[in-house]
Symmetry: C2
Subunit: 421 residues, 2 copies
């Protein structure tokens, strides 16, 4: 039989199979990030992969709507695969109106975007993120920034920077140049670093901004400073906002992550719904963009009808793992148990069960290979211990345990193993 | 603003939002089942939710093809959401041809079926299952049966039965009545228990089997016996098959789960691809059908082109949880830390970080509520300890910790908390 044609054997373009060595690397990250979020009082949520298309489209900017996997079910419902978790969380809170505020939720789950696949960018990928819903406090801004910083540190990355801006400050900066703030302008500014300054200029001119203003604007957003100095910069535009950022600076200092934060007026985020602080994280030697977030005080209302301040961030897990150099995690088998005769099978099962009860992983040979072949295969697949139960061993009431790395064998009394020693 | 219309606030029909209390109940089950599978040397895999439709359709029986969520991506690819994990595993093994055999893989993940939603049956649901690929041994059959039994026990269910049959035995039993075994006949027999005997009869007659034969067939498949007695029953049809089941019986006995197994000739499974042992598990007081499986020695070849014996099972996780009576898991917050003044905020952060380092969950108040309101809210949401850091406490170098259940307060020295004591 010929089997599948080659192209169908591979996962759908832009998606990945996680065989165990890749799965366990991901799981290690999942565990580290979950533990972190839970220690801050966040609780994990999960929602369906499938949402009503209308629910997804309500928040997605124009670029993202085009990336939604869209379909109809047999009843004709217009559906789509979720492209992030902020939308489902907003939807859930729109009917769980009595959930005590502030809500602290996190997620670690798959999302889907029909984007051009690139190195480290997939059409199905994992996002880790938090949503802090129901607080307008600057301490809330700081808490979310701290969690993002600690999430990056939790996977072993010491070298990173979180670049921060504030949409209200950006609005005022634009206004100071006589430019009306709009989603279009921000979407152009968000392309900074991805396209040349010349292209940026002409895109801004395409929005009716003259060449001189465009150039002033680009120079205005090019000056990054340590975040500790942000309040001073901001106070040129608005003293109240400067005061707010002073509180965030103070909180970040208390958590010991202030030095990792920069004030960067070029960080604007492409989407319309941000209303306050916005930020993006760049991690590792190559400063990979691993995620971003911000405050969106009007978004929840779109879904629930009730004005609710909120902010959050999302990290692309595969990107974070790339920045951390985490790719595979091996999990060798602890014991391979070989009963030489069929009489020894029952004893092999007892030994296996005793080892499993102690937390070890153990396989009992299925009786299709000779001893030599079983040993060779065990050596190839990285088994730690090979246990032989033959006639001699049965008579003596022992098992022979071979340490595959050290190539040493010891005899251990059966009674000791069964007693869990 | 009105927000979403009501119907859009809820998840898509047949799907569920897992808010934290439901998510953590599921996670407890995930952890218990993963630990079990790993102790048997199985390794977890994950594959994309989205597969080429052609790959899915290759294995799905007629009923299941109709339940696939189907769509095209923007490049015109015909895609679908996976309806089980046996197909993706077979696909992965079709290009990972050098994976050492036998392959022991397990999964705990979402699958999708456009089925009529019922109590405990969802259109998006979780499956836990194992695939043991590359062994034709009766010990392999036993290993998979043992894992299914222990999976049910691992969630706290002591009362269950696994009903076993063998397609080769069923083929011979049909032949002994002069009935040609076919997928159509098995699909009818699989409806036993779901429709009346009268309906079964007329469905069989619709396949050209006369009334008398249909009645004989139904009586033939109605006699369940303890699985220990199966070899005797089977030897009436085929001594070699009886010998094989003797080996399975012996292995199940060694694992101590033989008494939970029944030989039930009515268990045939609806799908064409089973080639040997087939089984279904019924758990809890109401004997809920929680999953099934069997041997499919020809399936892998459909994908890889290489004949490879294999078997596995899948359990519906939501059904298993229903049988076990597991619904919610509360995770109260350990510490809510309230700095009375803004000077105390830095100390509150230090206390929180020390508690988190010890593995506790801790929230620092965001500064939007008075002490009384914060305390009331903490009481309502089930916080374990409320920590007050006021002016007096700062001066004395202590914090006040209120045990919310016992309504008792103690003062603890700051230095002790910071030292992690």
């Amino acid at each position: 039989m010929p089997g599948l044609e080659d192209s169908l054997r591979r996962p759908v373009r832009g998606m990945r199979d996680l065989t165990p060595e890749y799965y366990y690397a991901l799981k290690r990250v999942e565990e580290a990030l979950s533990k972190l979020a839970e220690s801050f009082g966040y609780r994990r949520v999960e929602t369906p992969a499938v949402e009503h298309f209308e629910v997804l489209a309500k928040k997605a900017g124009r670029d993202i709507v085009n990336e939604i996997y869209y379909f109809r079910d047999k009843a004709g419902r217009e559906l789509g695969l979720r492209f992030d978790m902020t939308v489902p969380v907003a939807r859930v809170l729109s009917y769980k109106l009595d959930e005590p505020k502030p809500v602290r939720w996190f997620y670690f789950t798959k999302v889907w975007r029909y984007d051009e696949p690139q190195h480290g960018r997939y059409r199905e990928f994992y996002q880790f993120g938090v949503e802090l819903v129901g607080s307008a406090s600057p301490r809330a801004d700081a808490e979310v920034l701290v969690l993002m910083a600690k999430a990056i540190e939790a996977v072993g990355i010491g070298d990173y920077v979180i670049r921060i801006n504030d949409r209200r400050v950006a609005d005022k900066a634009l206004a100071s140049l006589g430019i009306k703030p709009s989603e279009e302008v921000y979407r152009v500014l968000d392309k900074r670093g991805k396209v040349s300054e010349e292209e940026l200029s002409s895109m801004l001119m395409g929005l009716g901004i003259d060449r001189e203003k465009a150039s002033e604007l680009l120079s205005l957003i090019s000056g990054a400073v340590p975040y500790a100095e942000a309040p001073e910069v901001i106070s040129k535009y608005d003293e109240e906002l400067a005061e707010r950022h002073r509180a965030v600076v103070k909180a970040l200092e208390a958590f010991g992550v202030l030095s990792r934060m920069a004030w960067d007026p070029s960080i604007v985020r492409g989407l319309d719904y941000y209303t306050g602080i916005v930020f993006e994280a760049f991690a590792g030697q190559y400063r990979l963009a691993v995620g971003g977030g911000g405050r969106y005080d009007d978004l929840i209302e779109l879904y629930s009808g009730i004005k609710t301040p909120a902010l959050g961030f999302a990290i692309g897990v595969e990107r974070l793992m790339e920045a951390a150099g985490i790719e595979k995690a091996e999990r060798p088998l602890d014991y391979y148990i070989y009963p030489v005769s069929s009489e020894a099978y029952g004893v092999a099962v007892e030994v296996a069960e005793a080892l499993r009860a102690k937390g070890a992983s153990a396989v009992v040979d299925l009786g299709e290979w000779g001893l030599r072949e079983a040993l060779e295969r065990a050596a190839k697949t990285g088994v730690r211990h090979f246990v032989i139960i033959g006639k001699k061993e049965l008579e003596k009431g022992v098992v022979k345990i071979r340490d595959m790395a050290k190539r040493e064998e010891v005899e251990v009394e059966l009674s000791r193993i069964k007693a869990g020693l």
